[in-house]
């Protein structure tokens, strides 16, 4: 599923305007659909008399929310700031020979189950916040690296030639031409990566980093549906809102000239 996603975001650069507007529409519809779904869930919880029970976890929810957000934001920000430079370096001509191989190795590492990665990072870094962030980071960087790399490689060599021919230094060519033109694809990677990050975050509870996983897993263990929902509903909300926000940022930050969404 992730592969399909990665391809989907690299297509718009060359794809048609039709596709783009369809994509934009889809985003809106998806967002609405999820909201409706959540509302339905809430009303069901209420009508079955579970809502008061869920709300009784209010204090836990507020505390875990902070923890959860801290985990996700640290991992995602760290991942963004490490993955983009790695992707950029891999796309440089000096790495052309080895970059595909390195990306294959990264791809292979994606097949390791998330739990195994968390377990591995726990066995090295112990339990708590640090290994959880490390584990989430490791899950998050790959889509960003891959999209940064493909995005930069996809910048037309003519643009680079024109830029060089007009007297830009290699650094100017990178910052003024290559990076802006790859931005849309890079954002696509960030979007996928963040949704992975948010989706994986509940597992952090298993290595002692807290977050909504605490309510979910404990609820499952105790067979307490309201407790599970008290963790699951906020997790789902965070996922939807994150994706929506990144979509907005992508829409506004990527210049109109290369943004197929507008």
């Amino acid at each position: 599923m992730m592969h399909a996603d990665a391809e989907r975001v690299t297509v718009p650069q060359v794809g048609s305007a039709n596709f783009a507007s369809a994509r934009a529409r889809l985003d809106g519809i998806g967002f609405l659909f999820l909201l409706v779904f959540l509302l339905a869930l809430l009303s069901w919880a209420w009508s079955s008399g579970m809502l008061p029970e869920i709300l009784s976890y209010r204090e836990d929810i507020i505390y875990l929310f902070r923890q959860h957000i801290e985990l996700v934001v640290s991992a995602a920000v760290l991942a963004t700031f490490t993955a983009i430079p790695i992707g950029a370096v891999l796309s440089r001509p000096a790495f052309r020979g080895s970059s595909e191989l390195i990306l294959q190795i990264f791809n292979l590492s994606m097949t390791i189950p998330t739990l195994a990665i968390l377990a591995l990072s726990m066995s090295v870094l112990g339990i708590g916040f640090a290994p959880a962030v490390f584990g989430l980071w490791a899950m998050t960087i790959l889509p960003i690296i891959r999209n940064t790399y493909t995005g930069l490689r996809a910048v037309s060599p003519h643009l680079i030639e024109a830029a060089r021919g007009m007297g830009m230094t290699p650094a100017q060519v990178f910052w003024r031409v290559e990076l802006p033109n790859a931005l849309f694809v890079i954002f696509g990677g960030i979007r996928i990566a963040f949704s992975i990050c948010v989706g994986t975050a509940p597992l952090a509870f298993l290595i002692g980093a807290g977050g909504f996983g605490e309510l979910i897993f404990t609820g499952i263990a105790l067979n307490e549906t309201p407790m599970v929902l008290a963790g699951a509903i906020p997790t789902a909300l965070i996922a939807v809102i994150t994706d929506f926000l990144i979509g907005r940022v992508q829409y506004h930050l990527v210049p109109r000239g290369i943004n197929p969404l507008r």
Binding site: H158, A162, R164, G165, M166, G167, R176, P255
Partner: protein, 369 residues
């Protein structure tokens, strides 16, 4: 001002893309590099701004060896239009035009007003186009922006790789004319790649013909068409090259002026005498302002007491003296007029063109170039 010799034994396996090419281009002239695909035109051009390092040989600009100049500074002083236009899609039209001024550290406002000025120069209203993105322009508009972007910092030298390649023939003619008009005022030294002979003949002060990386001939268009250096060049120019020379001669250069002017109220007998003296089939007649108002043909004026005006025929067409012979010949064919009156801006008769005068002017030019 430029003297460049380059041997380019290229890239290990040794594709010789450009082989020992030397020529010198006077300041302010347009030189068109012409030849079949893959003959080394682009490579030659890229060695001038050092996007490609010559294997050997040197390029001089204004007597200065370019290999001694910092390549970044060199490129900022040379306007460059690439074969694929290469507008930056992430920048607006104005930002694209301002790229080199920005690199040179111009004041923002000065760069902006320069962009306005250049857009006006190519007939693209700045208010409409400044803030558009390249994808919102037509192909022809993109190409115009590509050209004015190269002009933005007012470089003395321009390199243009098939700048009008991607436009349909009609718009190409328009842009070419626009460009020539601009060049008339700007007087840049321009190296221009083309593989369209008509474009080359139209644009060039000099044409360099390439084959497989070798320079086959370097000459003015007239000389090239009159005297191809060898069979390859002659073949490349095509068997109709004599016709192409028509585009190089203005009507003013080829027209006859030594004939008697006939006025509307002259007697027909005088017209007949004038016709006989000129040995032509027909002569134009002029009105009081000196404008051609009729044609007098030999059969019509014989043995009559009437005035010239009464036995004249209407003038179907005249040609401006600033036009080239191609236009004139087209008119002569289309209107079946073996004698074509030539007029100035105000429409006053300045001379006449006949088949014989055209043939003679072409052979005269062939002989003294």
């Amino acid at each position: 001002m430029e003297h460049l010799t380059k041997i380019f034994g290229s890239r290990e396996r040794g594709i010789v893309a450009v082989d020992d090419v030397s020529f010198e281009l006077p300041k302010g002239e347009i030189c068109v590099l012409l030849g079949p695909s893959g003959c080394g035109k682009t490579t030659t051009m890229k060695m001038i701004n050092r996007l490609i390092q010559p294997t050997s040989g040197t390029v001089f600009i204004d007597g200065e060896d370019t290999s001694a100049v910092d390549p970044i500074r060199l490129r900022r002083s040379i306007g460059y239009v690439i074969q694929q236009i290469g507008l930056f899609p992430n920048k607006t039209v104005a930002e694209n035009i301002c790229v080199v001024p920005d690199l040179l550290g111009w004041d923002r406002r000065k760069a902006r007003s320069r962009a306005v000025e250049l857009l006006e120069l190519v007939g693209m209203p700045p208010a409409t186009f400044m803030d558009r993105y390249p994808k919102e322009l037509s192909g022809g508009q993109q190409q115009r922006v590509g050209v004015i972007r190269a002009l933005a910092a007012d470089p003395p030298v321009m390199l243009m790789d098939e700048p009008f390649g991607a436009i349909d023939p009609i718009n190409r003619e328009i842009i070419q004319d626009e460009f020539l008009r601009m060049q008339g005022a700007l007087k840049k030294t321009i190296i221009f790649v083309s593989h369209d002979l008509n474009e080359a003949v139209k644009m060039a002060n000099r044409i360099a013909i390439f084959r497989n990386g070798r320079l086959e001939q370097f000459a003015t268009p007239a000389e090239l068409l009159a005297r191809p250096a060898n069979d390859f060049v002659a073949n490349f120019l095509g068997s109709d090259r004599a016709l192409k020379r028509l585009a190089l001669v203005s009507v003013a250069e080829a027209m006859l002026t030594d004939f008697e002017i006939i006025h509307e109220d002259d007697p027909a007998a005088r017209a007949e005498a004038a016709l006989r003296a000129s040995g032509l089939l027909a002569l134009p007649m002029v009105d009081a302002e000196g404008r051609p108002s009729g044609m007098l043909a030999q059969g019509d004026v014989a043995q009559t007491q009437a005035t010239a005006a009464e036995c004249s025929r209407p003038v179907h067409a005249t040609v401006q003296i600033s036009a080239d012979l191609r236009n004139a010949v087209a008119l002569m064919f289309a209107q079946d007029m073996p004698v074509l009156p030539c007029v100035d801006q105000e429409g006053r008769l300045k001379g006449i063109l006949t088949w014989r005068s055209i043939v003679r002017s072409l052979s005269v030019r062939g002989a003294d170039s």
